[in-house]
């Protein structure tokens, strides 16, 4: 098995640049609600390079100082949607945020808002996944089974363009954590789910529009969006849930067919 050794601070000195300090303070929010442990911060001095990501900084802590820090991650390349957290107050993917772009010697990482905390930086995704499933995130049509005789469903580039952007969602939950409605309305579907409802409604292969419109047309559904737009500000994949919500509203208000 390959042994990965932590870089020694002395080896770092030759990469020092004038704008980038090579040691930062990483403050990690610690809590364990199920054990009744109150939130607190643990501070660590971490050597960083120009390309070090916040996730790498956290993993450095786990390797060298405190293995008990709870953090969820997998792909390390902004694809799996596991590592969402609040970084210096702003929801972002830890693996997609470089320490150097934060322009600060002190980096504070906290669990995402609007999610129940499991421990430290790991939050509970149950509600997000269940709301996502409620939107029926799949193509609905009678002949959806592809048989040896059937052909693929033809779609023009223009048809694809209508929903492509919204299909890039990785279910990281950053949009839900930034949404001011989510902060108080625990039953709100949320920008992630609503954007996915639009993604399938706008797909011309799909025949489930009426079903989905009925589901989002609820007292805690699409109408509880008040155009804050913070979901789209924080989305790391360019999904723009706020626009999806307004486009989806168009169907319910009769502007779109």
């Amino acid at each position: 098995m390959a042994v990965v050794e932590a870089p020694k601070p002395s080896e770092e000195s030759n990469t020092k640049t004038s704008s980038q300090p090579n040691t930062i303070t990483l403050r990690i929010a610690r809590s364990n609600p199920s054990e009744g442990q109150e939130p607190s911060f643990s501070e660590f001095q971490i050597p960083v390079q120009k390309w070090t990501t916040v996730l790498e900084a956290i993993l450095y802590v786990k390797q060298n100082f405190d293995h008990s820090v709870a953090v969820r991650y997998s792909c390390r390349q902004a694809s799996c949607g596991s590592c969402g957290m609040k970084i210096n107050g702003r929801p972002a993917l830890a693996c997609y945020t470089k320490v150097s772009e934060l322009n600060s010697n002190v980096i504070t990482v906290e669990p995402m808002n609007n999610f129940p905390i499991i421990r430290d930086l790991a939050v509970d995704f149950k509600q997000l996944i269940s709301n996502h499933k409620k939107m029926k995130p799949f193509i609905i049509r009678e002949d959806s089974e592809v048989t040896p005789e059937s052909k693929e469903f033809i779609q023009t580039p223009q048809d694809l363009e209508k929903f492509l952007q919204f299909s890039y969602c990785i279910k990281c939950g950053l949009c839900n954590s930034a949404c001011p409605t989510m902060a108080t309305d625990t039953s709100f579907i949320g920008p992630q789910g609503l954007a996915q409802a639009y993604r399938y409604v706008a797909d011309n292969r799909d025949k489930g529009k009426d079903d989905r419109l009925k589901i989002v047309d609820d007292s805690h559904g699409i109408w509880r969006c008040h155009f804050a737009g913070s979901c789209s500000q924080v989305c790391p994949k360019g999904v723009d849930p706020a626009m999806a919500i307004q486009l989806l509203r168009g169907y319910l208000l009769g502007f779109r067919k």
Binding site: T181, T184, D185, F188, D217, D218, S219, H220, W223, R224
Partner: protein, 114 residues
């Protein structure tokens, strides 16, 4: 009622109110503001049926819009089926009470009782 119908009413009452409140303000500007508050002027306004009907319409539009808006705020503040039922029926009752009380004023002034 489906939420989309409620929200269409919410947006509709807002637009209606913008139009009628504009007329209301323009009518007030036809004379000096202090004059427009003279007792005799106010009573004359209420006696002018189209204007009294317009005031009644503004009363209904803004009661419906305002209390539905408050309902939305309260639904987002706290959740729970009993609470939400109370809010839904409570805001309907509040609309009805405010419209009844305002209509009473318009009717009494219109019929010359004061």
């Amino acid at each position: 009622m489906r939420e989309s119908i409620i929200m269409k009413i919410h947006y509709g009452t807002a637009l209606g109110a913008v139009a009628l409140v504009a007329v209301h303000i323009l009518m007030r500007m036809s004379q000096k503001f202090s004059d427009s508050l003279q007792y005799q002027n106010v009573i004359t306004n209420y006696h002018f049926l189209p204007y009294a009907l317009m005031l009644e319409a503004i009363l209904i539009l803004l009661s419906v819009h305002g209390f539905n808006g408050l309902r939305v705020i309260l639904l987002e503040l706290k959740q729970g089926s009993t609470y939400e039922k109370m809010i839904n029926y409570g805001s309907l009752a509040a609309m009805a009470i405010l419209i009844a009380y305002g209509s009473r004023t318009i009717l009494m002034a219109g019929m010359g009782v004061s």
